[in-house]
Amino acid sequence: MINVVADVGLLCLLLTVALAIVCTRSPLSLVLLSGIYSIALCTLFVILDAVDVAFTEAAVGAGISAILFFAVIRPEDEPVTAFSWPSSRAILLGLGVGVLLLAGTLDMPMYGDHLAPAHQHLALRFLGQSFEEIGIPNVVTSVLASYRGYDTLGEVVVIFTAGVAVLILQPDNKKGPAKPGDRDRFAPELMGNPVLKTVLLRMIPLVVLFGLYVQFHGDYGPGGGFQAGVILGAGVITYGLLSSATRLKRIISDKWVTLGMALGVLVYGLVGVAGLFLGANFLDYSVLGPTQTAGQHLGILLIELGVGLTVSCTMVSLYYCFKQGES
């Protein structure tokens, strides 16, 4: 009962926000509304039992997307009219697609159906045997890191590639005239404000600590390398927002960040290759330790470290690139 009420209520909220986004034209309002959208979606994921997914959505939606969007939008993009309906052509085309998809949904299993095909073969095996085979309670982590480790390696490489692509797209700042005096000072309003300074500078270690907790607790509760990487990145970026990107670069230089991006992927790949040398398949961690579960534990710990390193360094690198594009 509670589950159904919460589900329907949140679906209504999601629809409201989505319709508001369709009609809004101001980029700033769009970014804020998409923040609300992300929070509502995350809550819905909790209702639908996907705590790990909700964790990721929370970290991404609250921690990083707003920073990226605010680095790109400008006040001169603000339109004269704040609201406008989409053109009738787009609505008609959208409705056509919607009707086709509606016909497709009629064959879908009902909400929460225990007999749905998706719950039968693979899911039963994962839920029934993963504890003997992998030895960690969080089935999502064991599927992510071990059963589908190859897939996750691909995802990490995609994130790394995206980080490299943004690095390539950033402006070549060496030729352009830098304004050192302007860019090398603490943001005056933020740091001159004792309330913000006192509270937020103390938040950074808390966020980083929480990120490490998520990283290492991911085997037993919701969490893992992806979430931890985003949280750690957000914690580091907070310092950049409070002072300036230049100051943050003095602590963590962009070279180290780029190196970390690559190193994470390398750690992941090397763990897989180590399995090959010890006589098993690529990314089979069973042979890494004295027993099968010990090996799996070690392997998952290492590859989650690699994932966390790549994701957090990519987030910081994205921040640096966008800051550079801004000046």
Binding site: L13, A20, L32, I39, A40, C42, A54
Partner: protein
């Protein structure tokens, strides 16, 4: 007990809808960011109460994460406004 949880969740949903309304109509950007903030705190409560109601309070980490990183959006916005000072009124 379940009735109490139902009432609490329903009222939180209504309060969330009011926040969304304010975020949608503005009229100034500060109203919108304020609405985002209150919506976040309502979601923190919603997630926590839901987890208590379904007997899985061990997943409170999600609400904790929101409470921790809620400030990032406001900070990024204040940063943006400082970089691009414009006259008031949206």
């Amino acid at each position: 007990m379940e009735t109490v949880y139902l009432i609490v969740l329903g009222l939180l949903l209504i309060a969330g809808l009011l926040s969304i309304w304010r975020a949608g109509i503005g009229p100034t950007r500060f109203d919108r960011i304020l609405a985002v903030n209150t919506f976040t705190s309502k979601s923190i409560l919603f997630i926590s109460v839901y987890l208590f109601a379904t007997g899985h309070p061990e997943y409170l980490d999600i609400a904790l994460l929101y409470a921790l990183v809620n400030y990032v959006t406001s900070l990024a916005l204040v940063n943006y406004l400082n970089r691009n000072p414009v006259s008031a009124n949206d």
